[in-house]
């Protein structure tokens, strides 16, 4: 029985369990003329849980381990000379077996033919055992749980406990995924740092990851000084924030303090729409409108500028992240209690004095988190930079020159056919680690600021 069929059957059992459990609790309560501890649906939920979830977990567990067991079983049955091959070669061999089995072709080699038939047998056996175990577990779960249903059973509290565990499960999946990503990046980076010195990577000023393929190739020395990339990232993000923070904050203040409710309800969604525009479109806008405009403007001052510049990318990125600042700030400013405003007005303060001295300080933690969210967004942005700021890794603080960023270089390092053991590819992980640490530091700073002001203002 295939995986999909089993899942569908389990879902059907779940529904069935719900109705049976519900029905049973009502019947029992009538028979014994005893009041139910909880509403009937809670008994339903419990039966539904026991008749599907444990079986489902076993199913997933089995599916995860199945293939590795089958493979090791096949490998032990192979002739000695094959078993002594390297892991990679055995992997290739196994892949061939699986492909043969899936395509249904007959292998010409006797050893392979045997392996294929063994593979087919084992898979079939595993599937039938799996289906049997899953359904036995489902029905046993349902009947055992049903036998526990009594009117005095505290079904509501038990369901509450199940929900608690479900929440813990969801939260741990999110956390474990994050930890997994971090470790994978760290391990790959460690391999990279075996070939390239950490200090050369962090403080080197020359970035040219192309490596020589032939010995006599000129250029392509493979130098991994990431400083220009980080400087480029920070430069563009800084320009973006210089644009986005004042504009976003001011528009948030206007929307929450000055505008009429009708204007606000119409303007806020439009402002938030800025965040919904795909970044590729912003990239177009930057490359085709803003960058040429800056170049032409430069020409009118007798400056010869390239049509790719950090400024163009930064400006457009700034526009893109305005809603992150404005929308969050607007929410926190609106959340400042009216009593604060009243208190300030009653002291004879004007509106702008009140905003500056009372409302902004009170809303500061929220505003800071909005700005940092915008900053993380700017640091991680790729598309606009590719299109408007170029690919050349210049170490410069001049916003009129072409620069490149960490994310852009990661993309160029990993696109196309790549071998996954060259320093060039692994450099992407090291860059990723650097980027991750940068945003981590930003987050820690923001948490610190938020906590400091929370203590002071609440």
């Amino acid at each position: 029985m295939s995986f999909g069929v089993i899942i569908t059957a389990l879902l059907a059992l779940l529904l069935l369990g719900y109705f049976i459990g519900r029905k049973r609790s009502i019947t029992l309560s009538k028979e014994r003329s005893q009041k139910l501890h909880s509403l009937p649906q809670y008994y339903g939920y419990l039966i539904a849980f026991w008749s599907s979830v444990p079986a489902l977990l076993i199913l997933l567990f089995w599916a995860a381990l199945e293939s590795s067991f089958i493979i090791s079983a096949i490998v032990t049955q192979l002739p000695m000379h094959l078993q002594q091959l390297s892991t990679d070669e055995i992997g290739l061999f196994i892949n061939e077996i699986i492909n043969l089995s899936n395509s249904g072709l007959i292998a010409e080699d006797e050893v392979k033919r045997q392996a294929v038939s063994r593979y087919n047998e084992l898979t079939e056996f595993s599937t039938s055992i799996k289906s049997a175990i899953v359904f036995i577990l489902a029905f046993v779960g349902m009947f055992v749980a049903l036998s526990f249903v009594k009117p005095e059973m505290k079904a509501r509290n038990l369901v509450e406990r199940l929900i608690r565990w479900a929440m813990i499960g969801c939260a741990s999946i999110a956390v474990l995924t994050t930890i997994g990503i971090i470790f994978s990046v760290i391990f790959e980076s460690i391999i990279f740092f075996k070939t390239v010195n950490v200090f050369d990577f962090l403080f080197g000023t020359h970035w040219s990851p192309q490596e020589a393929i032939r010995e006599d190739q000129i250029g392509g020395s493979g130098s991994f000084g990431a400083l220009p990339l980080f400087v480029g990232t920070l430069l563009i993000s800084f320009i973006a924030l210089v644009i986005a923070v004042p504009l976003g904050l001011m528009s948030a203040i206007y929307l929450s303090e000055y505008s009429s409710p009708s204007f606000r309800s119409f303007a806020k969604p439009i402002l938030e729409m800025l965040a919904g525009i795909p970044t590729v479109v912003y990239g177009f806008f930057a490359a085709l409108t803003v960058a040429p405009f800056i170049r032409d403007l430069g020409e009118s001052f007798n400056l010869s500028l390239s049509s790719e510049s950090a400024l163009a990318a930064g400006i457009v990125m700034g526009v893109m992240i305005i809603p992150f600042v404005s929308s969050l700030s607007d929410d926190v400013i609106s959340a400042v209690p009216q009593s604060m405003r009243d208190g300030s007005y009653a002291m004879g303060a004007t509106k702008s004095e009140t905003i500056k001295q009372v409302i902004i300080p009170a809303a500061l933690p929220g505003i800071v988190s909005g700005v940092l969210l915008a900053a993380s967004r700017a640091i991680g942005e790729t598309m606009i930079v590719v299109m408007a700021a170029g690919l050349s890794a210049n170490l410069t603080f001049n916003p009129l020159e072409a620069v490149t960023t960490v994310t852009v270089q990661m993309v160029t390092l990993l696109t196309g056919d790549q071998e996954f053991d060259s320093a060039k590819t692994l450099a992407a992980f090291a860059l990723g680690l650097g980027l991750f640490l940068t945003t981590l530091v930003l987050n820690i700073i923001s948490l610190y600021i938020v906590r400091k002001y929370r203590e002071q203002y609440e």
Partner: protein, 275 residues
Amino acid sequence: MIDIEKREEFDIEIDKTVGKPFIDDAKFSTRNVDVFYDDKQAIFDANIDIGKNQIIAMIGPSGCGKSTFLRCLNRMNDTIQGCHISGDIKLDNEDIYHKHQDPVLLRARVGMVFQKPNPFPKSIYDNVAYGAKLHGLASNKIELDELVEKSLIRAGLFKEVKDSLHKPGTGLSGGQQQRLCIARTIAIDPEVILMDEPTSALDPIATAVIEELMIDLSKKYTIAIVTHSMQQAARVSQRTAYFHMGHLVEVNDTNTVFTNPEHQLTENYITGRFG
């Protein structure tokens, strides 16, 4: 039961404010004041004088318009959308709703203390210095320090906070916060202090401290207080105004109101037949 009594109240005519709404030495005088929230009328033709260096208490059941009336006196109602006021309100014979009158400057003359203590998210010192800085009342740091200290002393808070002036005002207890709000109000030296149920969020001990403070402050300031506690009105005020469903029913000396009210509605209220 409440319904029956309410119906009884409707039968009683509210024609004209009874008692002595007008006095000679008036700080505030209001004539024919109507207040509307959009189309709903909240105050009907209020005529009353508020005497200089006196405490006047405004009492009445919830929703009777006493807070609305109080907020007319420093034009706090201006900040509420759809609120519209007609009639004359004069402070020292000067129309506060005149088109040349600046509500911001008016509020520096007529301070206000609110029901829920609302210290700013700043230090105790900055809370008190807030108004002084806005209005340029101190020319240097030393003057400002003195002003803050003086105001805190007057509000009876200085002893408790003198070692923690730079800690957040929001960390104080409810009663201390309310005294901080009073300190910040008197720091700008207003002529009138409006208090909107200033002790309703406080415990009896803090309430007693604030009541004493009010009596003390009334030597220098004119005070108008809205309160739900009739005992409080009786304890602190010289005159009492009774509001009922937007009408100013009776204004009299506090003694008279609580011992020998002229209007049937006032009597019903103070004897606890409804409220």
